[in-house]
Amino acid sequence: MPNVLVFAESRGSDLRKVALEATTAARAFVDASGGGEVHALVAGPAGIAAKAEQLGKYGADVVITCEHAGLARYARESVAATLAERAKQGYRAVFMPFSANGRDLGPRVAAKLDAPLGSDATSVAMSGDAIVVKHPGYANKVIIELTITGPLAVISLRPSAFTPVEKPRAAKTDSVQPAADPGAERVVVKDVVEGAKGKLDLGEAPVIVSGGRGLKEAANFKLVEDLASAFGNAAVGATRAVTDDGWRPHSDQIGQTGRQVSPQLYVAAGISGAIQHLAGMRTARTIVAINKDPEAPIFKVADYGIVGDVLEILPVLTAAVREAKKGH
């Protein structure tokens, strides 16, 4: 009858989708292991409790809120202390997302509790006394199955690996005080610069839309920018031919002599796929190619290809992506 404590991540005064994923994963884990309770802890500014209630819908038996004005931004030391403090109350595991802040939090909590940590799990289950997780390592090239022993373990879950499923419980509520004063953080968040305002760097953008000479002229790069903005989290790249011709700055060049990137999604628009370019983007997780020449080498590395005029296809794709994003 393992009980699991979930760190349900929030940003500002909202829950994040990864919080629902972690709660769902914990529910499934507990149910598959002979039953137990899922307790979800939410830390945030005043008012977060109201948002936290929905966690019951995803299977939390107890929703624990920790409200404090100092938690409007990520107070790593305070949250870690609060979570670790609560975790001592008879849990088998602490679940949290392997998000940017979850990655930061996991080792802190594990070290405070002297508990083993399984990072970035895509599956988690009990196996005898131990917990077994699957975790893609080696840049997703090898799936590692890890056995985690000990009475208490910290597990972080790969975002999007668990789809939130509604399993409503009549969740009880509880509240805790921060175990450490968020005002006494040694690492102080001075600012959070939203991606939309700051330009996304090619190295960090999860999506890259790149254009090549197939766009015919510099002005048509607008179509590439439009698609990038439809994705919302995309940066714009270019081939060497394009940067050489001055259509785009040299800093946008992707390839052997430019930036080497491996985003989640790479859209190559009007790019034939010379070795120079492939060397810079081949490792992207998913590659989409749009090119008028079906023989273009880019189609050899692309997961999905559309043969046709990039100038005709891009606006349609942009509209479709906008639509898909809206529905999300």
Partner: protein, 250 residues
């Protein structure tokens, strides 16, 4: 500044991996190993800080088998002053146990700054740096893409989903380094020669009890072969559908 950089030796990311007999590890034959990319960013960041604000000392640390000495030499060929090898043949997937070995070593070192890579290519877990900080009781900033330090304090930017977080912190501190901080320098032959003469101390690592171990490893299903899904804009709805349901990137 006295800066410690903890580095790791990992397989080259371009390798085509095979699972070793026994199924609990990769087949290392034909696989090239080198300093982990993020570790090399951390070494470069340390060297640049000490070059811009001399005097300083950069000391590299690594936990692992003897082969890791080669990686420590590489850090010294880039410019690190000396190296400490914490010898251990323990498996590398329990970050907490390794953090204990490093914390024990770094505790009395009097470092102003301790740098790590944000995570290593092989374990891809990102545990050791932050856990070491926790054990040392030091402030810690993770996955930093921009770092500035001055005596007693530092500021950094870290990337969180769709945004950048700008933080300030006091020194001594632990920082884990993401790409973007600095492009690692290429060691000159002069540097390689000099590194052969720099001090490298090797001693047993005090690794904690291992509670995370590899049960098995497997290769993911082959990436489905690329396909042309259609002609012209008529193919767009199908593309969007595949991106949502199959590739799950939308």
């Amino acid at each position: 500044m006295k800066i410690a950089v903890c580095i790791k030796r990992t397989p080259d990311s371009e390798s085509r991996f095979k699972i070793a007999a026994g199924g609990a590890g990769i087949d290392e034959s034909g696989v090239k190993f080198d300093m982990d990319d993020f570790a090399s960013y951390a070494v470069e960041a340390a060297l640049q800080i000490n070059e811009k604000q001399p005097p300083g000392e950069t000391i590299v640390f690594a936990v692992g088998p003897d082969a890791i000495q080669e990686t420590l030499r590489k850090a010294m060929s880039m410019g690190a002053d000396r190296a400490v090898h914490l010898k251990s043949d323990a498996p590398l997937f329990d970050g907490i146990s390794i953090a204990k070995a490093l914390a024990a070593e770094l505790k009395s070192g009097g470092f102003d700054l301790i740098l790590f890579g944000r995570h290593a290519f092989d374990s891809s877990a990102g545990v050791v740096g932050t856990a070491t900080a926790e054990m040392l009781g030091l402030p810690c900033v993770t996955a930093v893409s921009h770092l500035e330090v001055s005596p007693g304090k530092g500021s950094a930017r870290r990337e969180i989903e769709g945004a950048g977080e700008v933080v300030e912190f006091s020194l001594p501190a632990v920082v884990t380094i993401d790409e973007g901080v600095a492009r690692p320098r290429y060691p000159s032959l002069k540097g390689i020669m000099a590194a052969k003469k720099k001090p490298l101390e090797s001693k047993p690592a005090q690794v904690g009890p291992v509670r995370v171990s590899v049960k098995s490893m497997e290769l993911p299903a082959d990436r489905p072969p690329g396909r042309i899904i259609g002609q012209g804009s008529a193919a767009v709805p199908e593309l969007v559908r595949l991106l949502q349901t199959e590739a799950k990137v939308l």
